[in-house]
Amino acid sequence: MNLAIETKKLTKTYKTSSGMQSVVKDLDLEVEKGEIFGFLGPNGAGKTTTIKILLGIIDGTSGEANVLGRPAGDIESHKRLSYLPEKPYYYEHMTGLEITQFYASLFGIKDKDLCVNLLNRVNLGNDYNRPISQYSKGMQQRVGLAQSLLNDPELLFLDEPTGGLDPIAHIEIRDLILKFRDEGRTVFISSHELSDVERICDRVAIINKGEMVHQGRLDDLLSGGRIEVTADGVAENLVDKFKGDDMTLSLRAGRLIADLPDTMSPNEMIDAIRTGGGSVVSVIPRRKRLEDLFLESVSGDNLAKGRVTGKMTDDDKKADVKEEEVSS
């Protein structure tokens, strides 16, 4: 069996003032060993709750959860995994090094050099002797990452590891996570940074209101991309010729920007542009974006319609038409 995490019909129900509320519903997660797995969903979807169940911090109401081949919460498996909580906090009176040594002691590790090395690895080499109370958010997050590597874990749970970080810290942490995979670790990330997830994750699950909407390889989930053709000196009649359902065209001052599904070959359009005396500036294949899939998955809730599918609404189309009129 090559699953690092497996849940079957995992459900968590809370009693609230308005009755029973299922925060996690029949969740079937499958995270393979050695992959970076993105766990996505809007605020309140149940991501942190799921992670807490997987760590045994809380118990599921029903269903099954296995982590590293053992029931969730098993202390033996805790020796082989680690967790970076959402917005972590550390005892403020301690220095970065002291807190890392404290967490090390929970594994029975007394090796100070190991702690120093890990802090160097997360670029805290100059600051680990300062008290945490003087750390910026990014520095605290790095302490969190350092402590999460203490036991050389097979599996890492990172709950919003780049939340609130500046773009540079972002990229650093992203690269660090990619290295984790190179080192053979499994990484389970919950994140709202879809561009990060898209760049580093092998597979993702998207949940909404505690229920699984999508789970699979990113490449599979994001098939059905688009191709963007840009050309100059294009005549008006070309737009009429290609106008179709699944295609958007905009023409302004002779510049055409056409967006077509990647199931359609752009050759015909390119030929027509060139025959009509125009010149093709670029042909760019655009993968369907994770953002599109995400918005699709959680649509029907509270999102403004037009944003949902990435397709254009009538209003948008009207706006485009206007553009054409202006240009003619």
Binding site: K52, L55, G56, I57, I58, D59, I75, E76, H78, K79, L81, S82, Y83, L84, P85, E86, K87, P88, Y89, Y90, Y91, H93, M94, F102, Y103, S105, L106, F107, G108, G144, Q147, N151, F157
Partner: protein, 263 residues
Amino acid sequence: MNVILSIAKTTIGEAIRRRVLLIILLIGVLFLVIAPGLSVLSARSSYTVLVSFTLGVIQLTSAVIAIVLTVYLLPNEVERRTIYTILSKPVYRWQFLLGKYLGAVGALGLMMALMTGILVLVFKIMQAEAGMDVVMTLARAPMMYFVQMSLLAAVAMFFSTFASPIVNFFLTGGVYLVGTLFSPVFQDIAGNNSVNAMVKTAATVIHTLVPNFAQFNVQNTIINSGSQLRSEQMYYLQLVAYAFAYVAVFLIGGMMIFDRKEV
């Protein structure tokens, strides 16, 4: 064991920096320092008054510190999510709870040692001729208070596994008051054959559930140092054993609740 001690150590480090505790401690110390001035006002032998006043200060201050310190230990861990990181390590919940408790007791010990030190200093200055024996006698009462406060902390720890800090404050405070003021009364009723059987049973139950805090007040033996208890050592040992047994019961109860608790 390592795990428990690590958690205890961190807890001590944090507790002795808690501003509210330091303020309470400071107030206690302040009273100890001005005590000699106050005793001048009294007609009774100033030594007796000074002893009972200063020991009372230490006891009251320690009790407040013990409660305020302990009721927030678990809730703070949950609120700041530090507990999640710790429980995701190979740490059992009972180890966490025990570590927190020992940390509370450790911090309490340090603060009480400080007050006792100041007490001894005050007496040294007051009565330059006071010998080592007086000092030892004076230090003994706070030692028993320490045992008492460790028991009180265990009560607070137990309640904190299910009650909010404010509720816990009153619960533990209530147990302390009942255990201090009424324990002798209940004990008396429970041992009296002439009372109604139901009253007697009720008194026995309360006397058993609520630890007898009053018995740790060994002040009297100090004040009337002439009337030494014959087997004093034995008496102290019994008290420690009594406290230990109650601490164990409260902690084990707390662990059982905490083990099932959603944090």
